[in-house]
Symmetry: C2
Subunit: 469 residues, 2 copies
């Protein structure tokens, strides 16, 4: 989230010159201490102040990651894995200093097993790179958080996004991992069988651990057949509430809708301007259906009937691939589009997820908060999962704006928790949501800390994230 990181300079120990020398001797030009590179690796897409690492290393393979982790361990220096830097809760900030491990050069696709619907990739492969590679195989990888994140980063943060309502999140779609542990050992978790009861589910433990328990270097992913038919539609509603109630009924009926996104009127107007569209500036659902031609038509008919009863307009269809691409591109760009509502401002993003029955009420109450906010606040999200975001536009030179945004965030989170929801549906904890974990999980947080301590006794793997340190 978006409260300032702890005054990071206070937490830093001096960086050992000997470690830098060892890294340079071993990795040469793949070690950087240039101010620009450090700064780039000390921030993500959140409003957190920059906390640059002391050095950045670009390993080429798992063995090199293990070497770097061992070297840093010897010197008691933190290691912070870095993918595309598109995280939203300060995950990559080097708040205790240390070495940023940039995995972007580990971008080989190691295997695609078309017959088994799985693929193995290095952590630096991005989701778009994988899908381009899969293009001619008839398969695709559905998880789509918007940003062209690395698959390692997506696994580490348990990412989801559009499509999760049908295909699940990274939790359901990572089959196995290669992980470098805090002591430099390399393990493989999971496997390629579709199911297994062979021991503790280490795969799921590392998925969402945000680099605090180990460094994910390779991932085996589940793939899906490209659907025979895809159709997308937008539907405008007289109110956010009517749109949300349409979603709730759709999910409760078990319609296997593939994407189901809500954009409020402010978001639509931002998107129109940013992506040069002419959408009606009203609360709107963006829907996509996957399946056989007959099944897609049937699903769409069902949802349209529900929408109509709740006052929705007719569906406007995007049947051609290029229209769909344009539509979803616009949806993905809701975030930058909203930022342009007040140029020069920063976007402060919230992220909660509630049981679907609570979604209408949670959004309605949140809209009352928005109505009294002093700045523009856009609301959109993956409502098929009960997940929604606010984008709060704050003036970086006005501390009162940040305070107001934080208060709003806290109100939304407390509301979601009270309704049986979670403080983060998909962005993760990082350093931004640490304070909410106790409220959500109570004493279970101490079990998380016990596991952290057992697997990373010196607290060198992305310290200060997920569990307090």
């Amino acid at each position: 989230m978006n409260r300032p990181a702890p005054a990071s300079e206070l937490l830093r120990k001096p960086f050992p010159a000997e470690l830098l020398k060892s890294l340079q001797a071993r990795f040469g030009g793949r070690v950087s201490t240039s101010a620009t590179v450090l700064e780039h690796h000390g921030r993500d897409e959140s409003a957190h102040p920059i906390a640059p690492p002391d050095a950045v290393v670009f390993p080429a393979n798992t063995a090199e990651v293990a070497e770097i982790v061992r070297l840093c361990g010897k010197h008691g220096v933190p290691v912070i894995p870095f993918g595309a830097g598109s995280s939203l809760e300060g995950h990559v900030l080097a708040i205790h200093g240390g070495v940023s491990l940039d995995l972007s050069r580990m971008n080989r696709i190691l295997a695609v097993n078309v017959d088994d619907l799985d693929a193995a990739v290095e952590a630096g492969v991005t989701r778009k790179q994988l899908n381009q590679h899969l293009h001619d195989t008839g398969l695709f990888f559905p998880i789509d958080p918007g940003a062209d994140a690395t698959l390692g980063g997506m696994a580490a943060t348990r990412a989801s996004g559009t499509n999760a309502v049908r295909y699940g999140t990274m939790r359901e779609n990572v089959m196995g991992l290669t992980v470098v542990l805090a002591d430099g050992r390399v393990i493989r978790t999971g496997g390629r069988a579709r199911k297994s009861s062979a021991g503790y589910d280490l795969t799921r433990l590392f998925v969402g651990s945000e680099g605090t328990l180990g460094v994910i270097t390779e991932i085996t992913l589940r793939l899906y057949p490209q659907p025979e038919a895809v159709s997308a539609a937008v539907c405008a509603f007289p109110s956010v509430d009517a749109a949300v109630r349409t979603v709730i009924q759709t999910i409760q009926l078990g319609v296997p809708i593939a994407r189901c996104e809500l954009l409020d009127a402010l978001t639509i107007s931002a998107v129109n301007r940013h992506s040069k569209l002419n959408l009606r500036e009203a609360p709107m659902l963006f829907c996509e259906f996957h399946g056989t031609a007959a099944s897609v038509a049937e699903q769409a008919r069902t949802v349209q009937e529900i929408a109509r009863e709740l006052g929705g307009m007719d569906f406007e269809w995007a049947t051609k691939q290029e229209d769909r691409t344009r539509l979803w591109q616009a949806r993905y760009e809701a975030y930058p589009a909203c930022r342009q509502l007040r140029p020069g401002n920063r976007a402060f993003s919230t992220d909660v997820c509630v049981p679907i029955s609570q979604l209408a009420e949670c959004i309605a109450e949140t809209n009352q908060d928005i109505a009294t906010a002093s700045m523009p606040v856009a609301l959109f999200g993956h409502v098929g999962d009960g997940n929604f975001h606010l984008v709060v536009l704050i003036d970086p030179n006005n501390p009162a704006d940040l305070d107001e945004a934080e208060t709003l965030n806290q109100r939304v989170v407390r509301r979601a928790l009270k309704m049986g929801g979670t403080c983060t549906g998909e962005h993760g904890v990082g350093c931004g949501k640490l304070d909410f974990l106790d409220a959500e999980h109570g004493d279970a947080v101490s079990v998380m800390a016990t596991i952290k301590k057992a697997l990373d006794p010196d607290n060198l793997l992305n310290p200060g994230k997920v569990v307090r340190s």
Copy 2:
């Protein structure tokens, strides 16, 4: 699995009289040391020799479980959670003695949230009990391992069975847990939101941990709308290979088949005799389709076309509910049916799961083993997931039979591992599959041991299962 448990008497310490007195003072008639009760709690459905606990306690709620765990901890006495006793790898055997914690009286359904498609139950609720309770809600819980297991036991062993090909396993369908830790603290994991990135995935860590990391006392489960249309069919094939290839193509095409079971000719003949059916005694697929009427018809057409091209006969349909019930009842009873192939014999069951592309070859090679076996060996399984079982009939008075069955089991497991599969698709590790974990997971097994040590430092929670002790 099925090698003899370690000579359990050697591992036992004398049971502290003081502990028994405390338990009796606190729980009265809900503590038993009767030989019959101890014996019942010292075995499961596997061929392992009985290892009875020293006492059985029947708690009524989570707080009582916590009390028992604390009392046992004070005396350094193991605690072994017990549900329905239907496990298949010796999970409930008290190989180090101790207290069997029988959760069957914790059988309240705590909440059903129809709008959110979830339910909360105590660990002793069985899957049939839950589905009877749900009958009029329009929802159901799909995971179906055959036995009427408790949902606590199913969560603890990461159970699956038929339906997993469409709905996933317990891994995908447990949303949250109440767990009593080794020190008696009670935590809640997960929650009711459909997705969350809020910290380590403790829910998935406890699912499949077989009572070795904590005692699961309550479970929040995901429910599904009862499908509008259901149809089931059987289809006979000229060979196991043709049947398996039909399954592989079905999965690769992405047909959302709900159940897809293979029974070999020997299993069919056993089932015919046991369940008084007249199925053609040939390799056979039992299929079930869920969806709208149109979608079910379309799925069935697709699978039938694939089957026909591979030499399958016409589908024989079970469209009426009672015919379907009879069909699936017969499938579930394959296990007892096979046991009757040689009355007086015990069934030694194997359980592997391989990537679907390897399934035909894995089964073909296994059939060569079966051809040279000295006893009847039936093959059936959840082939849509790549998961299959052998039932090897062994004479309990002939040690050579057990040796032969073990050798066969080892061959099947090694073969599955070589093909990228797992040593257990759904039965779990218990004490039977311990020896295979190293071969499957390598150094990751040491991470499992580290976690066990961190959460259960005195090794009192179901010791000797999953991780070596």
